[in-house]
Symmetry: C2
Subunit: 452 residues, 2 copies
């Protein structure tokens, strides 16, 4: 008896006895024959199990096996050329390894995402999530392969941090107390969840030249949007001896690599998203993979936006403004008609660590805008000049000592360096067309929402 | 001019003009010639830069370049067959891209690990850490490759969890408040940092069959030992339709794969550890990679320990006891003389989710013991029988509802499944011979210790 898995191919097994384990996706029987759609987790599509009174033991019992049950099928593999699947299994016996009872929360009908979000321990078996969480795994591997193949060192930056002012949003406190006597707390000081690994990874770039993080980050912002979660994964590469242009080269290579990797390694999942979620998703990402990413200054972009301001909901266009999604999308969808890096933003609207340009007004930042979503990646060359950075941190009132170590890197062989951040969950939304970040994460955490 | 990196080989470049960027590890000059050991982060060993008054611009200034400075060297690549490195660079010019000032905390002398732990943003440049954090990256990739090559789906289990009783130690609270009114907190309930991804990953094993986690986990235990950190990374694979024996097969394959992978992909780093930290480390892990891992029941192990009890500090040997490190090491080092799985532990000393054996006294657990460290991996077959698990949770007073979802998996197509946990940081200690967990983590977090 040959134990088989769905993802393998069985050209040569026609007529052989096989055994397969998996979960029942559908089961429909009649007097003469029954059909189970079986999935064993190894690949997106199901195999059809055919059972018949004259062949299958306990026909009556098999016809009553419930949706979601775990079973082991033994039978004959039968090639079915031209059919949706290459083969089916004609069952001699079907053993129930784990039944699902009458409260099983998935039925054959289509369930709403809202409902499925209430059952995170079962929803991975629903098609959209079943496709998504394998895509998530495949994209993770794409990231690691891309950077490791290029000699980047993967750094586990800390989740718990004592840095007060990373300047990227509100933080969760980590404590073993029920009051604010943090000097008596576990770490003998206030501790919080990281909002970004960037500051912590820079010392490693100044050691290994090319490094990256890939881990969870947190924001305690009380905003209930479809694009914000309180816990999400970020990729943050950092490169020494690299300027803004080098930085953009790496972003472009990485995005293209990831797109090609998922098209190659998750083709059934991407085909499902194209069919069920967003008919343009494959064409859209393929077009990006084949584009030359353009580069345009923020100042030039403002010029384009001013000329087209009638089209926007927010028509107050001026140099120094923070661009909204509608503006970003206009630039890449209407002006450039493809992916574009906006560069050299006003320093007031960007983070303190970005390198000030000669003009004294802008910083060497780059945001990658792509059609359909707008901003996908944000990066910059970092301020490597001790005096310039110190003055900036002083002006922002940041110098209470907790980031002295970061500033000091500029006195200890600090040199030109650059990096960027890619929101992993948003990249999944971009690839699949799925609109809500709650539907790309295994256990989404958002305000007043913490299931399991 | 050819920009080169240390890690590449340059057989054919003898005599060519090249340029290289990196950091100064040593610089010693005399009247006639000077030598800079330069490292560019791409590989463990340095390249020698030779500078001479008659060839190198600003000879005097070059001889004063300080340790740790970032420089760019331009000069002639000269093959040096038979020397420690294959080539050296004879400098025409050396440009300082980022100086290190007189407070640079690393000097040529050997610094203690205690001192280096106080400067986590600089210590990656010290040899031991420089080797360790690349090994960490290489081992991470070994893990991902091993599982992805075998079709395992990578799952990002959540860091913030609302589950109260995972039964694996004390927890950090995650909050935006300074009191304990958790019903008014960010998530409208008490939230904490995960101690293990296992419970959260099981639903995915019951969907994809073979899955794994690889992420940070947390313990708020106030214990200052060399083997415990408050934040550490774990790998937790979980496999449906797998029993304890299948589980042990995967553990064995994974450990061997990881050992071979790091020997192949971090040979200089492993050679450094052998030279500087633990002269047995390579032999030790090679022996494990070539062993057949034995299997022995806990009960049998107790028999061996009783016979040898005079040798132990803790001589109170009895069936039902928790084994200490000295006992575990005796079993694998003296009895088996190699890696061994201990199986079928008394149920009272193991976690609630482990499957109860027919004898009613033991559970289908397996701990992998290896020479030199003792326990390296802990795993088990999981209790898939709803009634048995419910009774256990009831008996332990766990049924306050927060793990109902976990219990319910047993009613929703739950089947035989198994998994294990590997402490990633401990695996690094094992491979390198480094004795303190604070020296394998980029930013170690321990009680009253939160630097940067």
């Amino acid at each position: 008896m040959l134990a088989v898995k769905l993802k393998d191919t069985y050209k040569d097994l026609d007529g052989q006895k096989v055994t397969m384990q998996g979960w029942v996706r559908t089961n429909r029987g009649s007097k003469k024959a029954g059909f189970i759609e079986l999935n064993d987790g190894s690949t997106f599509s199901n195999v059809q199990v055919v059972y018949k009174p004259e062949q299958t033991a306990d026909y009556e019992a098999v016809s009553k096996i419930t949706l979601g049950s775990a079973i082991e099928v033994t039978g004959t593999l039968k090639a079915t050329p031209g059919a949706k699947q290459d083969y089916e299994i004609q069952a001699d016996s079907v053993e129930v390894l784990g039944a699902s009872d009458h409260e099983y929360p998935l039925q054959k009908k289509r369930h709403s995402f809202e409902y499925l979000r209430t059952i995170p321990s079962v929803r991975p078996r629903a098609n959209t999530y079943y496709a998504m969480f394998r895509l998530r795994s495949v994209l993770s591997m794409a990231i690691h392969r891309f950077f490791q193949d290029r000699g980047f060192v993967y750094v586990h930056t800390p989740i718990i941090t004592g840095n007060d002012a990373e300047g990227a949003g509100e933080c969760f406190t980590v404590t073993t107390r029920a009051d604010d006597k943090y000097d008596q707390d576990f770490f003998a000081k206030h501790a919080q969840l990281t909002v970004s690994g960037q500051l912590h990874v820079e010392p490693f770039a100044l050691t290994y030249r090319n490094v990256y993080t890939f881990g969870p980050t947190f924001r305690a912002e009380n905003s209930n949007t479809t694009r914000h979660a309180s816990e999400f994964w970020m990729i943050e590469p950092e490169m020494a001896f690299a300027d803004l242009s080098d930085n953009m080269d790496v972003v472009e290579d990485m995005i293209k690599y990831c797109i090609n990797y998922v098209l190659e390694n998750a083709p059934e999942e991407m085909a499902f998203f194209e069919k069920a979620i967003d008919k343009d998703c494959i064409n859209r990402v393929k077009a990006v993979a084949e584009s030359d990413f353009k580069r345009m200054t923020y100042t030039e972009a403002i010029g384009h936006l001013e000329q087209a301001k009638d089209q926007f909901e927010n028509q107050d266009i001026f140099w120094g403004m923070d661009l909204q999604s509608e503006h970003e999308r206009y630039i890449c969808e209407q002006v450039v008609k493809g992916p574009v890096f906006l560069t050299d933003y006003p320093k007031e609207i960007k983070a303190f660590y970005m390198r000030e340009n000669e003009d004294g007004k802008t910083v060497a930042a780059c945001d990658l805008l792509v059609p359909y979503v707008g901003e996908l990646v944000g990066g910059s060359q970092r301020e490597e000049r001790y005096d310039v950075l110190k003055k900036k941190m002083d002006d922002l009132g940041m110098n209470e000592g907790s980031l002295d170590w970061y500033l000091d890197l500029r006195r200890f062989g600090g040199c030109r360096h650059s990096g960027f951040g890619l929101g992993f969950d948003r990249m999944l939304m971009y690839l699949s067309g799925v609109q809500n970040i709650r539907d790309v994460q295994p256990y989404p955490r958002t305000p007043r929402n913490l299931i399991n």
